[in-house]
Symmetry: D3
Subunit: 171 residues, 6 copies
Amino acid sequence: MQAKSPKESFTTSTHIVLPNDTNVLGNLMGGRLLHWMDITAAIAANRHCRRVVVTASVNHVSFNRPIALGDTVTVEARISRAFTTSMEVYMEVFVEGKTTGEKEKCNDAAYVFVAVDQVGKPIEVPPVLPETHKEKELFDSALRRKQLGLLLAGKIKPGEAPELKELFAGK
Amino acid sequence: MQAKSPKESFTTSTHIVLPNDTNVLGNLMGGRLLHWMDITAAIAANRHCRRVVVTASVNHVSFNRPIALGDTVTVEARISRAFTTSMEVYMEVFVEGKTTGEKEKCNDAAYVFVAVDQVGKPIEVPPVLPETHKEKELFDSALRRKQLGLLLAGKIKPGEAPELKELFAGK
Amino acid sequence: MQAKSPKESFTTSTHIVLPNDTNVLGNLMGGRLLHWMDITAAIAANRHCRRVVVTASVNHVSFNRPIALGDTVTVEARISRAFTTSMEVYMEVFVEGKTTGEKEKCNDAAYVFVAVDQVGKPIEVPPVLPETHKEKELFDSALRRKQLGLLLAGKIKPGEAPELKELFAGK
Amino acid sequence: MQAKSPKESFTTSTHIVLPNDTNVLGNLMGGRLLHWMDITAAIAANRHCRRVVVTASVNHVSFNRPIALGDTVTVEARISRAFTTSMEVYMEVFVEGKTTGEKEKCNDAAYVFVAVDQVGKPIEVPPVLPETHKEKELFDSALRRKQLGLLLAGKIKPGEAPELKELFAGK
Amino acid sequence: MQAKSPKESFTTSTHIVLPNDTNVLGNLMGGRLLHWMDITAAIAANRHCRRVVVTASVNHVSFNRPIALGDTVTVEARISRAFTTSMEVYMEVFVEGKTTGEKEKCNDAAYVFVAVDQVGKPIEVPPVLPETHKEKELFDSALRRKQLGLLLAGKIKPGEAPELKELFAGK
Amino acid sequence: MQAKSPKESFTTSTHIVLPNDTNVLGNLMGGRLLHWMDITAAIAANRHCRRVVVTASVNHVSFNRPIALGDTVTVEARISRAFTTSMEVYMEVFVEGKTTGEKEKCNDAAYVFVAVDQVGKPIEVPPVLPETHKEKELFDSALRRKQLGLLLAGKIKPGEAPELKELFAGK
């Protein structure tokens, strides 16, 4: 299968924070943003492999600053790395000052999607060919995120994550 | 502040998977479940501290099996551990066979919430007093999940996570 | 068919009142609560009979006190009695003080569901075996609610409701 | 206060049954219809008294026939009778054959609304002046529905419903 | 095919402006109203031809005055003219003073629908027989709106719109 | 006020067609797309002027081909021209083959927005400085669309649209 650049799966979605998206402080609820990110990530993953894709896992997402009612929120997604049948979708979330237009990054997140056939069986996806410095960095760190995620999920033991072991030993 | 048991914050929400919650395979979309979990977790966190709470982060969530249109989904949440102003909400998601009634666990997840005052400044929450074996186990592992989460988010370096270092060294 | 206890169908759903659920006074609209109750009741009815269930009727529902934006609302449902192919789902609605945690009952309601096969034809459901004092009381009063409901709907004449006749004669 | 005719509060709402409104049999869920009826009734009640109105209770609603995905549903509401601060809104629900255009009545229902001031205190509403035969019939039967409703809700005892007593005695 | 009067397709839908329908000024967003109009128009078009109908185009819609949170909005639709397989649905939008009850027209709009068979192929619809003065005026002006619409869409050149040419020449 | 290029307001939103967005043929309903376009256009208009913006009118929108359930839809918006306090937002809608990835244009549309202050009074916006050939063409044709729109809305007479008169005379 021919490798694809992260640019080919790049996807942008733009949203206005509406009243029903907010909590009692008038700020965007985390769950709504998680939902927006999931849909944007699914489109990016489909653009990479052109198959039906399903969410396999969500890695750590931090909500670093409140996003207010009426704010414009942009989610930018691209595939950072593929692992046979799965793809890490790396996302950045920006909020934009309504009067200043200043764009501030308020989140990043990595979701993992799997490509499946009609009966839901995983199928192979194209590898990712990173080109820019940032794309290469995300490609490299994707393996570490994968192992940390599996560790968090209790699916592997520390001894089964050689990259992480090295990370700790190296210090 | 007086400690509270995880039982005091225990929260259940029950949902039917409707057409708009599904992808083209007729299965529940990840983003919708993430949203349901966020609202259930917010209620549990409020029950623990009785203050306004906001989502601070989501730790690793895996989607282990498809959930079909029409399925009954139950999200069970309780506070597993508190860290001064933040609380880890541990959740289990169950799906129930419509004709058999068999309840099968299909996810677990940990979200972190912070209690805030009217201007959004973090405020202290009661500690958690685990009682059962399971509650104690979740209490203990919460610290490891916190450090793995911070590591995943790039907010700490491996050297700043002594518990994890030990975990790897111990192997 | 083997009788089932109301405990086996017990279902809880928990909700936060969001902006779009409220009227111009900032209180939960009745229609939204009726909708939440219908979904919770459908899950309880399915748990009792493990068949497809459809709403057959709603008996009297009173809205006794306003529920405010941001309040936590809990709907608790269980089958109180079965009548061959139909089931009365008895529900209680509680609202919870956000800062005090005090749980106050604000509604009760009885919905009737019917179990149906693939073409929508009614099919038999298990009888209900009440155990506690409260369950027995609800089991007994279900018949009176049924007759009052049919009378309200104009489907029976007073003379066809012997239980009610007695009720009035007895005074 | 000047009496108003039911025609002055007459309100029609028309809906198409969309996928998310349906259950696994592809039919309109009861809860969605209850919600549509509540909003239509609120508009009719506001048209009668021109004040803020809130749902006070729902009398018996029967769901007499399934309504399918894609069907056109019409809810017709008007005030049938006023009781100082409350109004009974009588509604009829029609479904329309998509290819034949035949309009079939599939429900009727009576909701009760109360007019309130800014702090939620009940305030007086205009009386209803029925004109047609049907309007007079609904006006008369409203009192009986009110007493049956209070009886169902357990708010009055049979002895406190003289109209109903007579109804049963008369047989 | 037998002609039908605009009365036969007349359709009313009534809405309350809810929080999620509003922008940061607390007024109804244009997009929500466009959506309400589309659904109301689809019902009217189906009533005219009793076939599946799809939106073909929207002619000019102006938003002449703000509509506030909590306002009652009524959309009235009827078929003004048919062109073989398409129908112009003419709509008027009214807003109603909550305390005064005064009904004020705030928009008119013309949407065009096409009747289609199961595979989406256009099929013939009945002609429209206008009866009142207003219906005749709308019938006549529909042709001009059609040509202006095609011109706006760049689908015809000025020379292909004889009616419009005359309009300008006549001045 | 300093002129801005259409690039500075360029806005992309990406959507998956979900079940509730579709009609009985399984295709995207026009009203949903009109709603998506309104929100995307509002973000673009805000990016141009950094003020609160409200929808003033919709010019002709054609729906040229059906968009199916599960399709990925992209709305691209930019300001084509400003007229003192109003802005024309020109939009193109693309649908993307799920397996081929081919992007096909299926609509274009022009919405007009007005910038307003806190009390809803129109305020001046920056002029548009078109740079590319396409931007210049859209800038020029915006005036013709404006006059056709006003003519369609019955707000001007043919004699008051000199540009259009010339258009017809010129043929």
